[in-house]
């Protein structure tokens, strides 16, 4: 007999595997984005505006953040709010196992999916386009984990403040575009004007972009950027716990 937590995790992992949409957007689309950009010849040439780096070099961290955003803001909120809306959490709360177990399993799965997707982006960037592996792996990993945590905390907050699955999807999309902007999907953060860069650096994905970029080039991601992400994670987690309704 396996433990309830293990069975919940196993079952939810299977269910996650049955969602081709989520699988594509979380696991594949970030790598696809990188490949499409990498196919543009000029993006593979060193640019003086970027201090001798190539556009594709900047887009590896962007694609990594894209994976986190897809997982935390697009894939997870509808699942969690759907579980609440359809009474799945309520049913579970009449069993010896608390429904929080289900939410935890979902968070863990989306975190894992985002991390796998991020690794795929880094690997494909290295193999296909010769983008150097992170110069400071430990710093990169810490930045990545904090970014995943703040992304999921943001998604959980979306769920907590949305009464229905429809609202959660809508709020998720409303947060999605600013998140994409601050992650540098349209203009890499490093290519933004200074003032804008400083403002964006105060958002979770802006800070993540800064930290990942620094670690990719071999430096230690600044405590400021890591601190911004940790702070957001803390505040958003607190908010989602405070406002989450079980039914």
């Amino acid at each position: 007999m396996s433990t309830p937590t293990a069975t919940v995790l196993k079952t939810e992992a299977r269910l996650f595997g049955r969602e081709p949409g989520s699988l594509f957007w979380v696991m594949l689309s970030p790598t696809l984005l990188l490949v499409v950009l990498g196919l543009i010849p000029s993006f593979r040439e060193a640019s003086e505006d970027l201090g001798g780096r190539r556009v594709i070099d900047l887009y590896v961290p962007v694609a990594v953040l894209f994976a986190l955003i897809m997982s935390g803001l697009q894939a997870m909120p509808p699942v969690l709010s759907g579980y609440r809306e359809r009474g799945i959490l309520r049913r579970m709360s009449t069993t010896p196992v608390r429904p929080g177990t289900l939410l935890t399993a979902q968070l863990a799965l989306h975190a894992a999916a985002a991390l796998v997707s991020a690794l795929l982006v880094v690997a494909v960037g290295r193999l296909a386009f010769g983008v150097a592996l992170p110069g400071n792996p430990a710093g990169y990993l810490i930045a990545l984990l904090l970014a995943v945590a703040s992304g999921l905390a943001l998604g959980a907050t979306v769920c907590a403040v949305s009464r229905t699955q429809k609202i959660a999807t809508a709020v998720g999309s409303a947060v999605f575009f600013p998140a994409m902007f601050t992650a540098g999907v349209w203009v890499p953060v490093q290519a933004m004007p200074d003032t804008l860069q400083r403002i964006v650096g105060l958002t979770p994905f802006g800070a993540a972009s800064e930290a990942l970029d620094t670690a990719a080039s071999g430096g230690w991601p600044g405590w400021a950027a890591l601190g911004v992400m940790a702070l957001w994670t803390g505040v958003l987690t607190g908010a989602s716990v405070r406002w989450f309704r079980w039914q």
């Binding site: 309830p4 069975t7 079952t11 069993t95 010896p96």
Partner: protein, 303 residues
């Protein structure tokens, strides 16, 4: 101290100042099928949710096998199986996965395979929840309610939305559950369901218990157990009908006269006809149903 499977005393619950449950008390004995019957909005589900531990009463005492559901969650979830009204499962979860998942929640679960067999779910083990028919979903919910091998199950609006055949199937299953010794608390607004399945019924109306008795008792106390009806115009004085032994009501409507009473009333009615040498046209003697009792007990504004 108590041998009751469920004990509810002086239960009160309000939402935003509106009293939904207003002083409800009842006891369900071990092995009994106890029905809670009432119109929509009578407070049935709220009362039962207090028993399930999903809501905390404002006032009053609730015990399940001696445990307070609001406080002793671990003990209550071990002895109580629950089928919730309007609650679903993950759309892509298969029947087998659902059974295994819920079995894993319990220390000593029932055998999922045996349970699936008992509830006729074996042919559907690989079917995803969203693809199940209404009847199959309800059978799965009964299975999930039973999977912890509970002493008490709560079944809330079990057959709402099912076609008559599926409804009858589910009723036989509930009877089988009762026969296995499990106490059943059944919430319904179907008279026929309550009359067929329940040992005792509490009729809930606007948050209060309007009556609590066996189905037969409820029928007797309102309109009588037998109904004699015949085409109006039989030359018998209504006063004589009213004076029949056991007669509780005499009404004439839509061209028919209806006398509510007992078997004794029927016998006396026949001899009355013989004495007067008259014939009653279109004479029918039927068992009164719970419908009549129910309509008497619940308020006019629900009709």
């Amino acid at each position: 101290m108590t041998t009751a499977a469920i004990e509810v005393r002086g239960l009160h619950k309000s939402y935003a100042g509106r009293k939904v449950v207003d002083g409800v008390s009842f006891e369900v004995g071990e092995g009994e099928v106890f029905g809670i019957l009432g119109p929509n909005g009578a407070g049935k589900t709220t009362a039962v949710e207090c028993v399930e531990g999903l809501r905390t009463p404002d006032e009053g005492l609730v015990r399940v096998c001696g445990y307070d559901p609001a406080v002793r969650r671990a003990e209550v979830t071990r002895v109580l199986g629950v089928q919730l009204q309007e609650s679903e499962l993950q759309a892509k979860l298969t029947v087998r996965e659902a059974l295994d998942l819920y079995a894993s929640f319990h220390e000593r679960p029932a055998d999922p395979h045996a349970l699936a067999e008992r509830l006729g779910l074996l042919p559907h083990l690989k079917v995803r929840f969203a693809k199940l028919s209404g009847g199959q979903k309800q059978r799965l919910f009964i299975a999930l309610a039973l999977i912890g091998d509970p002493r008490v199950v709560v079944l809330d609006e079990l057959t709402t939305g099912l076609d008559p055949r599926a409804r009858r199937e589910v009723w036989s299953l509930v009877e089988a559950v009762r026969d296995s010794g499990v106490t059943v608390l059944l919430v319904t607004h179907f008279m026929e369901e309550a009359q067929r399945l329940c040992d005792r019924i509490a009729v809930l109306d606007r948050g209060r218990i309007a009556a609590l008795d066996t189905p037969e008792g409820l029928i007797r106390s309102s309109g009588g157990a037998k109904e004699i009806s015949f085409a109006a115009g039989v030359p018998v004085d209504p006063a004589e009908l009213r004076a029949l032994p056991g007669a509780v009501s005499v009404t004439t409507a839509d061209g028919r006269t209806v006398v509510g009473g007992t078997d004794e009333t029927v016998t006396a009615f026949v001899s009355l006809l013989a004495r007067h040498g008259v014939t009653a046209h279109q004479l029918r003697v039927t068992d009164a149903t719970l419908d009549d009792a129910y309509l008497d007990l619940t308020g006019d504004d629900h009709r």
